[in-house]
């Protein structure tokens, strides 16, 4: 096997030195009846060219270069090519969690830079080294709020990504089992598309550990964070803000009133890759740092006085605290966090704003031309949005989806799957990479509704 650095002669020699007569001696401890006497029933060993060909044809089953207006928590932005050339350096790609600081300063300093950038963008004091993704990050943020407040109740806006909410439910299960329905959802205002503040006010109690909202929310609407914070804080509950589109922070006011921010950083140079790997991250106010889940890198000096970085506050973590740990997370998304760090370094202070503006402009144009079609209108126009919007069409989306596919375009996502009340409503996203001509084609096709409709 071409990955194995041994010849049969070397294997034989090593067995001799061990004093084993054959390799089977080393597996003798496995009870006879459980030893596999046959080949595994998996495809035969392939050559590299065959492997590449196999994946090429799998990839080709989807005609690449479709234009897509899908967003909904996963956003296609241009990825500067230096990200890939840097993260593929073996020194980053093939090293482990930086337990041995003397020979992992590269990874450690990069994570420290990542933590700083996330804190700067979110308006929080500190950020961790990453979580699995935005959905598990949100669930961990909620558990963190429960630890901080010693309370159990959790209020989640229905405008939060439906799959994020499902994950939070899964994580809350056992607490539900014990203390009953700990997690409740708060509806949204039908014309602003924002969380219903009155309903929220009514729902928050002194048993509420936290209120969790997403902004921009699942409909692309920017929530009124200051107002929500007031409501939560009045009752001593924490405010957790989940951010699924990190690019929005280039132009949208950061949720400085929040106590914890849980963000999905996929937009920062990470490929869509059919859903992962992405990069969650939790940021918070300084005072909560010892309740944070996940790894943290801190600055220190070595015995000669050189500045250096180390994994720190690990008494929070499973390998020290075991069942008392703040989380069970061990492996995180380090390399993806590095991609995000490079992305943010490429765009920098000015670029992230300019990029966000382009997204805003593209989406505004798309909304305008799509809504101009017969029987089409925008939903939730009562509040500001970033680069996603909800479109209502009198025509059944299935019908125009078909017309768009003919043009190699994937249109907006149907919302009735999660919001039965939003029938014929679709969620559209336009990032900077969608060319105007495709937007116009989409508009033309949408407008080409057959008269009967």
């Amino acid at each position: 096997m071409r990955y194995l650095p041994k010849s049969d002669a070397e294997r034989a020699a090593m067995l001799r030195e061990i004093g084993a007569s054959s390799i089977d001696d080393l597996f003798a401890v496995i009870p006879e009846e459980y030893r596999l006497a046959r080949d595994l029933d998996i495809p035969r060993q392939m050559g590299e060219s065959e492997i590449v060909e196999w994946f090429r044809s799998a990839a080709a089953k989807y005609t690449v270069r479709h234009t897509s207006f899908l967003g909904a928590g996963v956003y296609r932005h241009y990825r500067p090519c230096i990200i890939d050339s840097l993260v593929q350096r073996g020194e980053f790609l093939t090293s482990y969690t930086p337990y041995q600081a003397e020979i992992t300063q590269g990874t450690l300093q990069a994570i420290f830079e990542f933590q700083t950038m996330i804190a700067e963008l979110t308006g929080m004091d500190v950020a961790n080294a990453s979580m699995y993704d935005g959905s598990t990050g949100a669930a961990e943020a909620v558990m963190m709020a429960v630890r901080v407040t010693g309370r159990d109740g959790v209020l989640v806006a229905r405008t939060v990504h439906p799959e994020y909410r499902e994950v939070m439910h899964t994580y809350a299960q056992h607490r539900e089992a014990e203390t009953g329905d700990v997690m409740r959802e708060v509806g949204y205002d039908p014309d602003s598309g924002r969380i219903d503040l009155a309903a929220l006010e009514a729902a928050v109690t002194d048993q509420t550990a936290c209120v969790l909202v997403q902004s921009p929310n699942f409909f692309g609407i920017i929530e009124d964070i200051p107002a929500i914070a007031d409501i939560a804080h009045k009752k001593g509950a924490l405010l957790v803000v989940s951010i699924a589109e990190a690019i929005s922070l280039g132009i949208v006011r950061p949720p400085v009133e929040a106590d914890i921010v849980s963000m999905e950083a996929q937009s920062f140079g990470v490929a869509l890759c059919y859903g992962g790997p992405y990069c969650g991250v939790i940021a918070a106010k300084e005072k909560y740092v010892r309740q944070m889940p996940g790894r943290l890198v801190g600055q220190t000096t070595d015995r000669n006085g050189y500045r250096g970085f180390v994994l720190t506050l690990s008494t929070r973590e499973q390998h020290i605290r075991r069942e008392k740990a703040t989380s069970n997370i061990c492996t995180n998304q380090a390399l993806v966090a590095l991609m995000a760090t490079i992305f943010l370094t490429v765009y920098g202070k000015e670029g992230i704003r300019e990029l966000a503006e382009h997204n805003l402009a593209k989406s505004a144009y798309t909304a305008q031309v799509l809504a101009a079609g017969p029987g089409a209108r925008l939903r939730f126009t009562g509040a500001p949005r970033f680069h996603e919007f909800v479109l209502h069409t009198d025509e059944d989306p299935a019908a125009w989806h078909h017309r768009l596919h003919e043009e190699k375009i994937v249109g907006g996502l149907e919302l009735n799957r999660w919001y039965p009340e939003l029938d014929h409503a679709t969620l559209w996203c336009t990032t900077e990479i969608v060319p105007r001509e495709k937007i116009d084609i989409a508009a033309k096709q949408l407008a080409a509704v057959s008269v009967e409709a």
């Binding site: 990955y3 294997r11 030195e17 009870p31 080949d39 998996i42 060993q45 799998a58 996963v74 296609r76 890939d84 840097l86 350096r89 093939t94 090293s95 969690t97 041995q100 003397e102 300063q105 590269g106 300093q109 990069a110 933590q115 963008l121 308006g123 699995y132 994020y164 899964t170 994580y171 089992a177 922070l249 949208v252 890759c273 859903g275 992962g276 740092v289 600055q299 015995r303 000669n304 050189y306 970085f309 180390v310 720190t312 008494t315 973590e317 390998h319 008392k324 069970n328 061990c330 492996t331 390399l335 370094t345 920098g348 202070k349 990029l355 805003l360 402009a361 144009y365 500001p384 994937v410």
Partner: protein, 512 residues
């Protein structure tokens, strides 16, 4: 010139060589400040495509929601960024540079073809909400990988959703809980051996179970009597790592399963050590009910400095109804779809379908190996560990002399006499050009040196490692201070972790 042929002399140390220690020699590395310290206003590394739609006024569109204070991100040019991260990278050790025998972490070779196929545009640019009919290629990848992993583990069903091992444990324990509940018999405790990895108890706890510790027996394995005594009608499951964290196969594994099953409890296997079993034996055959795999260990996906990983969970048929949604199904025309209609499901553990990019890499690895390659891989992994054991057992204390599988665990007992601990030996090993083994784990071994070479090490590299470890043992006798002050050959040495934790500096702040 003849000396160049002995492995010790790779790079050809001359007679009386003073600068080569083991297999490394000092050279210069570039210093590099924090990226923020290199920033200056107006430098740019980006240029956007020309905007082809009317520009907008953010203030007008967003009102109060507009950002007034930009975040303090750095401003650099492209070459400075290339240099920044290239210089940083040169401070890292990596598999690509040499042996990385971190026990329990399975630091094996990460094939480059995996990276290539994971970047094929049709795979890398696929949106998870793309309609299934446009995602058949992606679903083929998921489907074939699932089939392979089910065959390798000998289980009946699998979910690819968990993002890492600990996440897999979480998912697996949720399945256990859901099954017990479905039996109208919710249970309260999970039994975990004292040799277990920290994620096991942490997982049981976040799943709401109380953790019961099981003391290992004299061989570092499961004490059957103790287990039998401990299991009761409140026991939901035993979380077992097999081979154990001391690298020993639980030869009584089937009896363990019997005891649990007889009490209505389940056997959860932490599959972190599957690299010792792949193609030689199957957990599904020896009584395991549910287990997780670490694609970033056994199946060669890169660790990337700490992640991303992928922790699929395989289970027996009776647990299948509880798997997270969605699950992959085939319709009558052979088209593949995601099925969300699973009333008994524990729900979702992650948005979308899991770390698909890691699926691609792991599948590429399996295809590159085939049945024969996987078996040979396992055999070489076990051979390497036993070779190291043989070559070091006379100088380092072997707490358990039960046969080793893919890793061997020594203790620092002998070196402690001279005040040298496993952590010090680890630091000194750095001077010899190796990444240290896993330090002080498992906890059942006081001062553990946990060494997992994996199959990826040549005999030459193993011999260099053995020579270094033996030399260090000698140094401990003759000059312990040398070891206590190690490493001596690195850019930084012995960083102050106490101060780091007492006064945490977790971010850069621009000096006023």
């Amino acid at each position: 010139m003849s000396n160049v042929l002995t492995p010790e002399a790779s790079g050809t140390a001359p007679a009386g060589d003073t600068r080569t220690l083991g297999k490394v020699r000092p050279h210069q590395t570039q210093n590099e400040a924090l990226v923020f310290e290199k920033s200056s206003p107006g430098k740019k590394a980006y240029r956007l495509a020309q905007l082809d739609v009317p520009a907008v006024d953010p203030g007008a569109l967003l009102g109060d929601a507009v950002r007034r204070e930009p975040g303090e991100l750095p401003e650099l040019s492209e070459i400075e960024i290339i240099r920044h991260f290239t210089r940083l990278s040169t401070w890292n050790y990596a598999i690509d540079l040499g042996m990385y025998p971190l026990g329990s972490c399975t630091m094996k070779y990460n094939p480059r073809v995996n990276e290539l196929v994971a970047r094929i545009e049709g795979l890398a640019e696929a949106h998870p909400y793309r309609p299934d009919f446009l995602a058949q290629g992606q679903l083929d990848v998921v489907d074939l990988l699932q089939k392979c992993l089910i065959e390798i583990t000998g289980m009946d069903a699998i979910t690819m959703q968990p993002a890492a091992g600990a996440h897999g444990e979480f998912t697996g324990i949720l399945l256990t809980r859901a099954w017990h509940q479905s039996q109208g018999d919710p249970r309260r405790t999970v039994i975990i051996p004292d040799s277990a990895h920290g994620t096991n108890p942490a997982t049981a706890a976040i799943c709401g179970y109380s953790v019961e510790n099981l003391k290992s027996n004299a061989e570092g394995g499961i004490d059957l009597e103790a287990l039998a005594r401990q299991v009761n009608d409140q026991t939901a499951a035993l979380m077992l790592t097999n081979p154990s964290t001391i690298g020993v196969f639980e030869s009584q594994i089937h009896k363990i399963a019997e005891i649990l099953h007889a009490n209505g409890a389940l056997l959860y296997m932490d599959g972190a050590n599957m690299n010792a079993l792949c193609g030689k034996t199957r957990p599904g055959d020896f009584g395991v009910d549910v287990m997780h795999l670490n694609l970033h260990k056994t199946f060669s996906t890169p660790h990337g400095g700490g992640g991303p990983g992928c922790g699929p969970v395989a289970c027996k048929a009776f647990l299948e109804p509880f798997l997270p949604i969605p699950v992959l199904v085939k319709d009558e025309n052979g088209d593949k779809h995601w099925n969300y209609d699973r009333p008994q499901s524990v729900g979702r553990v992650r948005a979308f379908f899991g770390n698909f990019g890691m699926f691609v890499r792991a599948l590429a690895y399996i295809l590159a190996n085939g049945p024969d390659g996987l078996r040979q891989t396992t055999e070489d992994a076990v051979l390497n560990a036993n070779y190291i054991r043989k070559k070091l057992e006379d100088v380092y204390d072997l707490p358990y002399n039960t046969p080793s599988m893919h890793e061997v665990v020594f203790s620092d007992r002998r070196q402690l006499k001279n005040g040298v601990r496993t952590g010090d030996i680890a630091k000194r090993l750095i001077d010899y050009g190796f990444h240290p083994y896993t330090v002080s784990f498992p906890l059942i071994v006081h001062g553990a040196l946990m060494i997992e070479p994996t199959e990826s090490e040549s005999r030459e590299e193993l011999d260099l490692f053995v020579a270094a470890m033996r030399q260090i043992a000698r140094e401990v006798e003759e000059n312990p201070q040398l070891v206590l002050d190690a490493p001596h050959s690195t850019r930084v040495s012995r960083l102050d972790e106490t101060t780091a934790a007492r006064k945490p500096i977790l971010r850069y702040r621009k000096p006023a």
